[in-house]
């Protein structure tokens, strides 16, 4: 039993895609958390629900419509937020509820397709196809390369917008780029943990890693390690015990956070 599960090809696909998504969510999420945009992933995920419903209604592969709707609504809400000076948390609330509302209306109009919707709400990593795995790897690769190339500019404009502007960094373009990449990351990750739990992967490993009080690269590496650990162990445990992978992954991430809090409050985690 123990090693046998590693020989199944569906398990290979699940683990490979899971690790890619773990890295992607942790890196993109770190910038969102540091920008006080932690719930943005959640909002995009909810708006993707509208996109998924649209795809199912139109008979198009739902993730494609989800990409379109999520990226568009993320960019639009960012524009509206800047133009009308709406606070970050309020704009997230607007985005979040409008996505769900659109989804519900479309589902109502179509007479309901509950089974398909269910797998998008809670993820279905063990059912992932070869094509999806390739797509996940390709998107992860592209986004990580973009972040590596623009690493200094993205970090600087996250740290202090005004100073970054004076240093000649196109801060507004960088902001839109981050929102765009967050949109892609969310939809790509839906298959792993589903719409409802996506922000857990964005936020929890990063909040945990930040508690170790290290520099930026080390914090990113700690976050990625925790994220990969939660996803890999979560997928394996969920298969062995026949429980939902999404819930198991998120609970593992939360227990790493709780453990870190415990170590920190016991004084074992010294700075530097």
């Amino acid at each position: 039993m123990s090693l046998e599960i590693l020989t199944f090809s569906f398990m290979h696909r699940a683990l490979i895609s899971g690790i890619a998504i773990a890295i992607l969510c942790s890196v993109v999420g770190l910038f969102l958390v540091l920008r006080r945009y932690s719930l943005f992933g959640d909002a995009i995920a909810h708006s993707s629900f509208g996109g998924i419903a649209l795809g199912l209604l139109a008979g198009v592969y739902p993730l494609w419509t989800a990409y379109g709707v999520s990226i568009a609504s993320a960019l639009i809400i960012t524009k509206i937020k800047d133009r009308y000076n709406i606070s970050g948390d309020a704009s997230i609330a607007v985005l979040l509820s409008s996505g769900i509302a659109v989804g519900l209306v479309i589902i109502g109009l179509s007479g309901g397709f509950t089974i398909d919707i269910f797998s998008f709400l809670f993820g279905s990593i063990l059912l992932i196809s070869v094509d999806d795995t390739v797509l996940i790897l390709a998107l992860t690769g592209v986004i990580l390369i973009v972040i590596l190339i623009l690493y200094r500019q993205i970090l600087y404009s996250t740290f202090n917008e005004e100073q970054a502007k004076v240093s000649g960094i196109p801060v507004e373009k960088i902001n839109y780029l981050i929102v765009f990449m967050a949109g892609i990351t969310v939809v790509t990750s839906i298959q792993l943990v589903g719409v409802l739990l996506i922000s857990a992967l964005f936020v929890i490993p990063n909040v945990t890693a930040i508690m170790y009080g290290k520099g930026f690269k080390q914090t990113a590496i700690i976050s990625m390690s925790f994220s990969i650990f939660s996803v890999v162990v979560g997928i394996l445990l969920s298969y062995i015990f026949d429980i939902t992978p999404a819930g198991t992954i998120v609970l593992l991430a939360i227990s790493l956070l709780a453990g870190t809090m415990g170590i920190k409050s016991s004084g074992l985690l010294s700075k530097n």
Partner: protein
Amino acid sequence: MLKIVEIDNLTVQYPDVKALDNVSFEVNQGDFLGIIGPNGAGKSTLFDAMLGLNTKYKGTIKFFGEDIRKSKNYLKEIGYVPQKPIFEKNFPVTVTDVVRMGLRNETDENKIDEVLQQLWMHELRNRIIGELSGGQQQRVFIAKALITNPKILILDEPVTGIDQQSIDLFYSILRELNSKQKITIIWSSHDLDAVNQLANHVACLNRTLFFHGESEKFFSNDELVKQYSEASMQEHMHHH
């Protein structure tokens, strides 16, 4: 004398108030200019316009003879140290990470150590920025500003909320940068004594510019000093 900055009839109108009214002055290479004025005098407004952060102004601002509306290249020659840099206290960046942000070219990595040594910050290079004292943080931001070898250093009330010992160290660093490295410094401050000791030119701003010239001329003119002190005293009482 090479003119580095030329500001001509600069006016900034906010919806409810004229923040700057027809301000004109020049800064020459090697000047150490202290800009003084009470709270709300328009010092930060002036810097925002000079740094390209606010483009809604009337008049012209030239750096190195070129209108800043036409080209942003001048920003490469500027090191900017803001009043109170805003960031999350637990933002996971070390001193080295912060200084590295100032780099325009990845190949200049060696310079980080050099600049940190110059500012006595080398031993703290792996510390998280949020754990440092206000004075230490301010030195990190100077290091970040200096990493590109700027010709001009612009500092917006850089010692607000910093202890006296750190302020003294900070001032001696500024003096050395101006006298030894010939960096032109434009610095806004509340501290008249410090301006008297450090700056060789003074601009006295209260929405309009009511004095600009050599600091000796300002400080030897009791009437001007008195006027300034009264204006800032009124401001002070107004705030309490």
